[in-house]
Symmetry: C2
Subunit: 462 residues, 2 copies
C-alpha cells in the first residue's frame, strides 16, 4: 500500500479496502456534520476526497490544521461516494499532519494568483493546478520525444554544454571561466586564456548540431536533447537565456526524408500528449486556451503542406493582405507572414523549403541555382515557425567556399570540414525549441511559465 | 526500402529480395574472383557483407575506392551466404560511392589505435567498434533511465544549468558571465554584478537536488537527468568538468524507500542493457573487461546488503586487512575501503547508511543520536561508490540549526527553508553520475571514453 499515488487510488472502487493517502490539502469545506478535505499529491490534476466526521477522535484539534498547503498522511477505507464528482471517497481512521502550512503566512492562498506573482514563488508554484499540469505535460512530452527516437533507431547523443568554438553562429554566447574575475591574467595586455581552466576561451553552447553531425556520420540516426543558451538581452515573453532543444540528425537522408521525419515527429508528440494527459489537456482546454485540443487533433491528422520559399512569397503577395513588413523575395519571413501562411492560406502546418542562401546558415546545402539552400522550416498555426532544419552541405569544396564567402575562419571548422573529406554522406537534420513546443501544446502564453526555473535578463532566483 | 538500417537488414533471410545498403566500409578483402566488402552504418556492431564480382561493370574503377571509411550506397539482392559468419550477404547490382576516404590520409587506419589517440580525433572515433558500442550502450542506458522513472510515475524535471547560488556545496564552480572580460564593471573596487546579464553572480550547477526537492514537494516523485559541472583541476581518468547526473527525489519517502528505489533502479538498468545490447556487451566482455556480463548478471540478481556505517567500520577493522588509509569511526571511507566491503566481505552490492554527520552534507536528516545522518551510499564491486543519497532534513528548526552550525548563510537558503515551513514532508533522494554507471556497465577504464566529447582541464576541442 506504500507506493500508491493518488492517481492510482482514484482508479480504485469504493469497496471498503484500506488506503494510505499522502499529499497536500487543496481545500477543506466544513458542513454541519463532516469536513470535506481534498488531498492532492501532484501525480494527477485530481484530488481525492477525504470525509472527516466531527465525531472523529481529536477532531477539534486536527480539523483547524487541515488547511490549504498542509501535508498529511491519512489511512482510511475507500467507500462509495454519494457525490457526483467522484465515485469513491476516503473514510479516515488515522490522520497524521506531517507539515503545517500556517494560513496567515502561506503564500499560495486559495484565490487565483497571477502568473507573474507565481514566478516570484517558483518554489511553490508547482503546487498549483496550472503549473502541476504544465510540468506533467512537459514530462510526458520529454518521454514521448525519447520514445519516438528510440522506437525509430535514433541514438541519443549528449553534445557538450561547454564549447570552445563560437562558430555555431547563433548570436551572443555566455562566457564560462574559472578565472578570478578580480584578477584576470593578461599577457601583453591581452587576456591569457591559456591560463583558464580549459586553456582556451570557453562559452555555453547555442546548438549541438555540429557535434550531432559527427555522430550521424558514424551511427546514422542520432538526436540531441539538452540545454542550450543565448545571452540575448531580450526581456520578452518569448525569450529564455537557458532552454532545452531537440536536434535530430540523419545520415543518408536528404531534405525530403528530413521533412518526413519532422512531420511524423510532431504528430507523434501531439498524439502522445492527447492520449496520455487527457486530464491536464482538458484543464488547458477550458482554462488556458479554448479549443486547443481540437486544434492539436486537427494538426495531428493533417498532411503538412510543402511549398518552396519562392511559392510562399508569391502566395503572400497574391493574398492582397497588407503586412507590417512588406513581402519581397529575399526577406527573412516575419512571424506575421508565417502565421498568415499556416493559419489563413493553408489552415494547417506548412513546410517551407529552399530559402535564399543569404538569410540562412553557412552549412546548408546549396541548390543548383546557386541562390537558394535546402532549408526547411515547419510553420504551425498560433505559433509560426516551430522547426528549422536543412539538408547539410556534404561537399567539401562547396562548404569551404561558403565558409570563406561568409568571412568565417576556416581553422575553427577543421573537424567539421574533415567530415566532408572522409566518408562524407548526404545528411539532414532539424532543431526545435522544447519550450516553444510546450507552449504550442498547452497554450501557455509566456515561455517562463513552461520551464521549472526560468533564466532571463535579471532573473536567476532559485 | 529507404528506412532500413543494416541492423534491420541483418535480420532478413537471403531470399533474393532487394535491399539498399547505406553505410561506411569497414574492410575489403580481395580474392581471385570477388571482393568481400563489410559495410557498417553504426546501427549495430555488425557489418553486412557485400560480395562484389570482378565481372561487375566498372569493377576496376570502383573497387580501389571501396576502402575503409568510404561511404557507399549499394543496391543489391540479399542471397544466402556460404560463409559461417553470416546467413545472408548482398549481391550488388548498383554501387554509388557517396564519399571517398583517401587511404593515405584517413586517420582511422585498420590497425588498432590507442584510446588516447582516438580522443584527439573525437570527430571520427564513433566510427570505431569500441566507441560505436559505448555510444549505443550509453543510449540504451539513457532510455532505460527515462523508462524506469516513467513507468514508476516519476516526473522528469529539467533543473537549471545556470545557477545563482553557490550553496549546493560541492566544490569549485565555473563562473558564467556576459561581461566583457577586458572591461569588467566595478563599483568602489568591487565587481558590480548587478551589471551582468542576470544582475547577480552566476555559476554552472553542481547538482539539481535542491531544486528537485521543490518539485518532489509538489509532484511527489520526480527526477533530474542533466549536465552538471565541477571546476576541479584534477587531470585523472576519473574526472570530467562536465558530466551527466541522475537525481531522483521522492516525497513521503524515508531512507528505506530510498534504498528500495536505488536497488530496483540499478538492477533495472543492468537488466535492460543485458537484454537490449547483447552484441555490444559481448564485445565489451571479450575485448574490454573479461567476465563483465557474468558480473553484471550477478549484481542484477543479488539482494543488496544493507549495513550501517558503524557496522561497516567494525567489519573493516575485524578483517585484519591493512589499508593505506587507517580505518577509524569518523573517517570518510576511501575507495579501498568501499571496494573491500563490496568485493571481499559481501561479494555483492552493499548499501551503507547512517554516516557521521561531520562528513556529510547539511541537508541530510539528523538521527536521534545527534551524531549520524540518514545518508545512504551504494557500493558496487569494481567501482566502489556508485550512488550517494539520503533522507533529507524535513524539520525547519533542525535544518536551520545545521545551516548555522556549518557557517552557511541562511539567506541563501530562504526558499529551501520555506519548503520546511509550508507543508513539509519526509522526503529522500539520491544522485548518481551517469558516466561512472556507463564505466561500470562497459568496463571502460577512462571516463573520457564514455562521453561523446570530454571536457577536462585543458581539454575543450570539438
Amino acid at each position: 500500500m506504500k507506493e500508491k499515488t493518488i492517481k492510482h487510488i482514484l482508479t480504485l472502487e469504493g469497496n471498503g479496502q484500506e488506503v494510505l493517502v499522502e499529499g497536500w490539502i487543496r481545500t477543506r469545506r466544513d458542513s454541519k456534520e463532516v469536513s470535506f478535505i481534498a488531498v492532492n499529491d501532484g501525480s494527477t490534476m485530481n484530488s481525492i476526497q477525504v470525509v472527516l466526521d466531527r465525531t472523529f477522535p481529536g477532531y477539534d484539534d486536527i480539523n483547524p490544521r487541515l488547511v490549504n498547503g498542509a501535508s498529511v498522511s491519512i489511512k482510511g477505507k475507500l467507500v462509495p461516494s454519494p457525490g457526483k464528482e467522484q465515485s469513491a471517497e476516503v473514510s479516515p481512521f488515522e490522520i497524521n499532519i506531517l507539515g503545517d502550512a500556517p494560513a496567515e503566512e502561506y503564500p499560495l492562498q486559495k484565490k487565483r494568483h497571477s502568473f507573474e506573482f507565481l514566478r516570484e514563488i517558483a518554489h511553490l508554484r508547482p503546487r498549483t493546478n496550472t503549473f502541476g499540469s504544465v510540468m506533467r505535460v512537459r514530462n510526458a512530452m520529454s518521454f514521448a520525444i525519447h520514445k519516438y527516437f528510440n522506437d525509430n533507431g535514433f541514438v541519443y547523443v549528449h553534445t557538450p554544454v561547454i564549447t570552445g568554438s563560437d562558430c555555431e553562429g547563433a548570436g551572443e554566447m555566455f562566457h564560462v571561466t574559472n578565472f578570478d574575475l578580480n584578477n584576470i591574467p593578461k599577457t601583453e595586455g591581452k587576456i591569457d586564456f591559456t591560463k583558464d581552466f580549459f586553456g582556451k576561451e570557453a562559452s555555453l553552447t547555442v546548438s549541438g548540431q555540429l557535434e550531432a553531425e559527427i555522430y550521424a556520420l558514424a551511427l546514422k540516426n542520432v538526436y540531441t536533447f539538452g540545454p542550450t543558451f543565448r545571452a540575448e538581452k531580450s526581456n520578452t515573453s518569448r525569450h529564455l537565456a537557458e532552454f532545452w532543444m531537440i536536434e535530430p540528425e540523419m545520415a543518408f537522408c536528404d531534405i525530403n526524408g528530413n521533412m518526413d521525419t519532422a512531420e511524423k515527429f510532431i504528430k507523434y508528440i501531439l498524439r502522445y500528449v492527447l492520449e496520455n494527459c487527457s486530464d491536464d489537456m482538458n484543464f488547458f482546454n477550458s482554462m488556458i486556451e479554448k479549443g486547443i485540443i481540437e486544434n492539436l487533433e486537427h494538426i495531428a491528422e493533417s498532411k503538412f503542406e510543402r511549398i518552396t520559399y519562392t511559392d510562399a512569397i508569391n502566395e503572400l503577395k497574391k493574398s492582397g493582405k497588407t503586412f507590417e513588413y512588406p513581402v519581397e523575395w529575399g526577406i527573412d519571413m516575419q512571424s506575421e507572414h508565417e502565421k498568415f501562411l499556416t493559419q489563413e492560406i493553408y489552415k494547417k502546418p506548412v513546410i517551407v523549403t529552399d530559402y535564399p542562401k543569404d538569410i540562412k546558415a553557412f552549412y546548408m546545402k546549396l541548390n543548383d541555382d546557386g541562390k537558394t539552400v535546402r532549408a526547411m522550416d515547419v510553420l504551425v498555426p498560433r505559433l509560426g515557425e516551430i522547426i528549422g532544419g536543412s539538408e547539410r552541405e556534404s561537399d567539401y569544396n562547396k562548404l569551404l567556399g561558403r565558409i570563406r564567402e561568409m568571412g568565417l575562419n576556416e581553422k575553427d571548422y577543421w573537424w567539421y570540414l574533415e567530415l566532408r573529406k572522409y566518408g562524407s554522406a548526404p545528411h539532414s537534420g532539424f532543431g526545435l525549441g522544447f519550450e516553444r513546443l510546450i507552449q504550442f501544446v498547452t497554450g501557455m502564453q509566456n515561455i517562463r511559465d513552461v520551464i521549472p526555473f526560468p533564466r532571463c535578463v535579471d532573473t536567476l532566483e532559485f
